[in-house]
C-alpha cells in the first residue's frame, strides 16, 4: 500500500489518533446495557427496551470505532511500531481471556476435587451422600446423566480442529498472495464455526439436565456457554475479516486484523480441547 507523502516525511512519528467520540459512546452503551439488564433481572417493564437500546448504541460504537481504525490503517497511518503495539495488545488481551477461563476451570476443579469430598464427609448434615461425579449435590435428589463425550462433543472437537486447519490454510493463501485460497479458507472456517454452534445448541436442547441441576449443571453450562459465546464472537470477527478480504484490504505483508482474529480463534480452539477433556471426558 502506498503511504501518503506527508506520513513518509516523518515516518518516525507514532500515530496518535485525533479526539474521538466513540469511547464515550461506548461507555454510554455499557451503562445503558447494564441498567437494562438489571431491570430485566428484576422484571421491570423498561428493561428489554433499555437493553436493546444499549446493544444498538454498542453496535454503532463498534462499527464507528473499527471503521476509524480500518480507515487509518488503509491510509497508511500505522507504521511498524503501531503494528507492534497492536500485536502486543492482542497478546495481552488473549492472556486476560485465558485467566477468565482459568477461573472457571478452577471452580470446576475445586467443586470436583475439594468441595465434593468435604460434603461427603459431612454425614451429620447429608446422611448417605457419597462423593461421585457427576452430581447435582446432596440437597437435590436429581441424578445426572452427562452428555456422552464420544458423540456430538467428539465430532465438535473434530470440527473445531479442522477449522483451525482451514484458517491456517487461508493464512497461507494470504501470505503467498493467493486471494482465492484466502477467501475459501475463511469461508470454510466460518462454516465450521457455525456448524459447531449449531451442534452445541442441539446438544443443549437434548441434554438431560439444566443449569439449575446442582454444581454439575452449573459448571457445565457456564463453561461450555462462555466458550460457545467466544466461538460466536470469533465467527462474527471472521466474517468481518472475510468481508475485508473481499474488499481487498489485506496485503501479504500487512494484515494484522487477520492475524489477530486467527490468534483469537486458535485460543478458542485450545479452550475447547481443555473443555472436551475436563468437562466431557473425565
Amino acid at each position: 500500500m502506498q503511504a501518503p507523502a506527508e506520513y513518509a516525511a516523518h515516518a518516525d512519528v507514532y500515530y496518535v489518533p485525533p479526539p474521538s467520540i466513540w469511547p464515550i459512546v461506548g461507555s454510554v452503551a455499557l451503562l445503558t446495557l447494564a441498567a437494562g439488564f438489571v431491570m430485566v433481572l428484576h422484571q421491570m417493564a423498561a428493561g428489554p427496551l433499555l437493553m436493546a437500546l444499549g446493544a444498538a448504541i454498542l453496535l454503532v460504537m463498534l462499527c464507528g470505532w473499527f471503521g476509524a481504525v480500518i480507515r487509518e490503517s488503509l491510509s497508511g497511518k500505522y507504521d511498524a511500531q503501531v503494528d507492534a503495539s497492536f500485536r502486543w495488545g492482542m497478546v495481552w488481551f488473549i492472556f486476560s481471556e485465558v485467566m477468565f477461563f482459568a477461573g472457571f476451570f478452577g471452580a470446576l476443579f475445586y467443586a470436583r476435587n475439594v468441595a465434593l469430598s468435604m460434603l461427603a464427609d459431612a454425614q451429620l448434615l447429608w446422611p448417605g451422600f457419597t462423593a461421585a461425579w457427576p452430581t447435582a449435590g446432596p440437597g437435590m435428589k436429581t441424578a445426572i446423566t452427562p452428555v456422552e463425550a464420544w458423540g456430538i462433543p467428539a465430532f465438535n472437537t473434530l470440527v473445531l480442529l479442522s477449522s483451525g486447519a482451514t484458517l491456517t490454510w487461508a493464512h497461507r493463501g494470504l501470505q503467498r498472495g493467493r486471494p482465492l485460497q484466502l477467501k475459501l479458507g475463511l469461508a470454510l472456517t466460518i462454516a465450521l464455526g457455525v456448524l459447531f454452534i449449531g451442534l452445541q445448541i442441539h446438544e443443549y436442547g437434548a441434554a438431560a439436565f439444566t443449569i439449575r441441576d446442582g454444581i454439575y449443571g452449573a459448571t457445565f453450562y457456564l463453561l461450555t456457554g462462555f466458550h460457545g459465546f467466544h466461538v460466536l464472537l470469533g465467527t462474527v470477527m471472521l466474517s468481518v475479516v472475510l468481508m475485508r478480504s473481499l474488499a481487498g484490504h489485506f496485503t501479504p505483508a500487512r494484515h494484522f486484523a487477520f492475524v489477530a482474529v486467527a490468534w483469537y480463534w486458535h485460543f478458542v480452539d485450545v479452550i475447547w480441547l481443555l473443555l472436551f477433556i475436563f468437562v466431557y471426558c473425565l
Binding site: M118, L119, D121, A122, L124, L125, W126, P138, G139
Partner: protein, 388 residues
C-alpha cells in the same frame, strides 16, 4: 497435650507505659462506663490461647527489634545527612554484600518465626480424643447448640434489651456480650465443636479460648478447647452475617463436673415440659404474650418491632397479604422460609409452641386483626403434612 503455662504478659510493663500515655491523652474526654484501655490479647483461658498469646508476644518483640535496626540508621541519616547541615551527597548506589546480607538475615528470622507457629497450628487442628462433642449451628443471628449423643438442644439468643442499644436505658455491664442461654461445658475436658450454619457464614469466637472458626452452611468444620478454670467467657460472631452481625454474642459457661451433670438433668426436664406444652390448647392472650417475646428475639431484627419491615429489604408484616391471608400459607412461610432470601426456615429452629405463638402474634398485632388463633397442634399437623 500441652500444659497451660502461667499467664505471661511479656510486654506488660511497656504496654503499661503506653496505657498511661493514652489515658493521659483521653483524660480530656468524659469518662465512659468502663475505662479499660486493654492493649493486648485478653487473658488466655486455654493452653492454646496461652500459646497464641506467647507467640504474639515473641513476634512483637522481633518486629520491634527489626524496627529499631532499620529506623535508627534512617533517623541518623535524616539528622546528620541533611543538606541544611551542609552534608554533600555521596554517589554510591550498589553494594552486593550488603544486599545479600539483608536478604539472607530476614530469611533466617522468618524461619525462626515459622517454627513455633507450625507446631501450634498442628495442635490446634487436632480434634481427636475429645470428651464431649457439641454441634454448633449459626443462624441469623443466634447460635444453636446440640450436645451430640445427649438429648439436649437449644438456641442461644442475645439478651441485651433493644432499649439499651438505642440509648433509652443505661447499658449493662455485659452490654452486647450476654445471652439468654449460654453454652455450658464441663471444666478440664476436651470439648470438640462441630460447626455449621443454616443460612450465611458466621464465625464462632471466644478470644480467651483461642478459638475462632467459621460456620459454613452445608459444611462441617471442627474446633476444640479445654478450659480448666470455671467461669463465664464471652465473645461474638466474627464474620459479617447481615444486619444482626453485631448482635450475635457467644457466651460459654465453664462449670465443675457436678454442676454440669445437674445442668444436664435440668435441660432434659425442660425438653419434657416443652413436649407436654405442645399438645395443650392456648388462649389468644397467652399466645400473643409468648409470641411477642419470640418475635422480639427472632423476627424483629428484620421485620422491625413495629412490624413495618425495612422497605425494599424486609417486607412489612403489618398489613402483609401473607400475615393477614390464608393461615396455612403464613405457617408455611415462617416454617419453611423462602429460598434465596434472608427469610429463613424457622421450622428447624423454633418449637411448635413458639411458632404457633409468633404466628398468632403476627396475625393479631399492628394493623393486623384477623382474630385467628394458631395452636401448636396446627403447626404439628402442617409439619407432618409437609413431611410426606
Amino acid at each position: 497435650m500441652i500444659e497451660p503455662k502461667h499467664i505471661d504478659r511479656g510486654v506488660g510493663p511497656y504496654f503499661c507505659a503506653i496505657r498511661s500515655l493514652i489515658a493521659l491523652l483521653a483524660g480530656a474526654l468524659p469518662a465512659s462506663a468502663r475505662a479499660e484501655f486493654a492493649v493486648n490479647l485478653p487473658a488466655p483461658a486455654s493452653a492454646l490461647a496461652q500459646q497464641i498469646f506467647d507467640l504474639h508476644t515473641t513476634i512483637l518483640w522481633v518486629c520491634l527489634a527489626i524496627l529499631i535496626v532499620v529506623f535508627v540508621p534512617m533517623a541518623i541519616a535524616l539528622i546528620r545527612h541533611r543538606r541544611a547541615a551542609g552534608h554533600p551527597a555521596a554517589k554510591f548506589h550498589d553494594n552486593l554484600k550488603v544486599e545479600i546480607a539483608w536478604t539472607l538475615v530476614p530469611v533466617l528470622i522468618l524461619i525462626a518465626m515459622a517454627w513455633p507457629a507450625t507446631r501450634l497450628v498442628a495442635s490446634m487442628k487436632d480434634t481427636s480424643k475429645s470428651d464431649l462433642t457439641i454441634k454448633v449451628t449459626g443462624h441469623q443471628w443466634k447460635w444453636e447448640y446440640e450436645y451430640l449423643g445427649e438429648d439436649i438442644r437449644f438456641i442461644s439468643n442475645t439478651s441485651t434489651p433493644t432499649t439499651q442499644i438505642d440509648g433509652g436505658q443505661s447499658k449493662g455491664e455485659h452490654y452486647l456480650l450476654e445471652v439468654d442461654r449460654p453454652l455450658v461445658v464441663p471444666a478440664g475436658q476436651k470439648i470438640r465443636l462441630v460447626l455449621t450454619s443454616s443460612d450465611v457464614i458466621h464465625s464462632w469466637w471466644i478470644p480467651a479460648f483461642g478459638v475462632k472458626q467459621d460456620a459454613i452452611p452445608g459444611f462441617i468444620r471442627e474446633a476444640w478447647f479445654t478450659v480448666d478454670k470455671t467461669g463465664t467467657y464471652r465473645g461474638q460472631c466474627a464474620e459479617l452475617c447481615g444486619v444482626g452481625h453485631g448482635f450475635m454474642p457467644v457466651v460459654v459457661e465453664v462449670v465443675g463436673d457436678g454442676e454440669f451433670a445437674a445442668w444436664k438433668q435440668q435441660q432434659k426436664a425442660l425438653v419434657a415440659a416443652a413436649t407436654a406444652g405442645a399438645t395443650k390448647t392456648y388462649a389468644l392472650a397467652e399466645l400473643k404474650a409468648l409470641g411477642e417475646k419470640v418475635y422480639g428475639a427472632n423476627c424483629a431484627a428484620c421485620h422491625q418491632p413495629t412490624g413495618m419491615g425495612i422497605p425494599g429489604a424486609f417486607p412489612a408484616l403489618s398489613g402483609s397479604k401473607i400475615a393477614t391471608g390464608d393461615r396455612s400459607a403464613h405457617i408455611d412461610r415462617v416454617m419453611n422460609g423462602k429460598a434465596n432470601t434472608a427469610m429463613a426456615a424457622f421450622g428447624a429452629q423454633l418449637s411448635d409452641l413458639d411458632l404457633a405463638a409468633v404466628i398468632t402474634y403476627e396475625r393479631n398485632s399492628w394493623n393486623n386483626a384477623t382474630g385467628d388463633l394458631v395452636q401448636p397442634a396446627d403447626i404439628a399437623a402442617q409439619r407432618s403434612g409437609s413431611a410426606k
